[in-house]
Amino acid sequence: MATVMTLLTNFVDATKDYDNFPADYIAVDLTNDYLIWTAGDSVVKDLMTHEPTSDELNAAATIIDDSLDTTVALCLLMDYSHDVGGSYYTHKIIGMSENKQYVFCFYFNGTTGTATIPRLEAWDTSSHTTIDKNVLGLSVPANSMIKAIRTTDSLPGTGWIGTSIAGAANYLELDTAARSYSTQVYANIKIVIPAAYATPSAETFVLTVRYTYL
C-alpha cells in the first residue's frame, strides 16, 4: 500500500523522540487541526479552553522590530478534538525555533518506505505554483521568512539559521536517504521577520511534504 505521512508535534519535552516517548507527541489531525504562529498573549497561549477567534489572534500578532530580526515566538497546535492532556484546544509546540531536536516529527508508514528523500516545501496556496507572499520572500526564495532545519540526527545548534524554504527550488530534505521501512524524521521550523520589514500583513501560507513511494 501507499506510504502515508503523519505529522506529530511535541508538546512535552523536545529532548525526547517519538520512538521512545510517543506520549510526548500529538498526532495532528490534518483535516481539522492547524498550526498557529503567534507572539501569544494572555489569551492566545498554551492550553486554551476555547478555539481562538480572529480578533484574539490579531491582538496577539507579532510586532515587527525596527532594528532586530524577530522570530515568531510561539507555534500552537490548535487541537480541534481537544482530547489530549485535559481537554485543551491549544498546545504549545515545545522547542519550536530553539536549539531542540525533537519538535516536528514526520512519520512515514508502509512496508515500502520511501523511494526518494522526502522534502518540506512552502507555497502560497495548495496549488503549489507561486511564492508571491511576503512571508515567502515575494518570489525571492532566499528571502523567505520560513526557516527549517533537519534535526533527525543532531541538534540544530544555538542560533540556528536553517534553510529559507519557498517554492520548488528552496526546500528542506527531511532525511539523508530513502528508507525501505517505516521511519520518523524530525525538523525544527521557525518564522523570522526581518528588522523594519515594511509591509505588515496577516498571511496564510502552505507547508507541504512531498514524498514518494514504490
Binding site: 500500500m1 501507499a2 530513502a178 501560507f205 507547508l207 514504490l214
Partner: protein
Amino acid sequence: MNLYTIIFEDNSVYQGGDLENTKWVEIPNKKIRTIFYSLPLGDCLGLSEYDKYYHYIEVTTDIMGENKGKINLEFAYLIGKKGTTYKMYKINLRTGQVEVMILEEKDKMIQQLNPIGWH
C-alpha cells in the same frame, strides 16, 4: 484498470496495481521483457530492452492551508536503465503530460533512489 502489465522473458505475465497500491515491490524476481504502462489520458507507454526498470509515485500532503491533510497524486516516474544511462518518463498525474529525461548514474536523482525498487 491495471497501472501496468509486465511480460517476462519466460512469457509469464504480471499485472500491476493502481496509483495507491502499485504492487511494484511484489514483482517477481525475473528478467523483464516489456512493460506496458497506462498513461493518465488513456495512452499506453511500452518499455523494453532495458537492463533494469524503476517506478515510483510522488505525492504531496499539505500540513497547513485550505487543503491540508489531503494526499495529492503529483507524478509517476518510470525509469529504464541501460548501462550507465537512465531514461526517465515523468508523468504528470494532474495534467497527463509526459516529460522525458535522460539521466546518468552520477545524477542525484538516480543516486538517491531506494535500491529496493529496481527490477
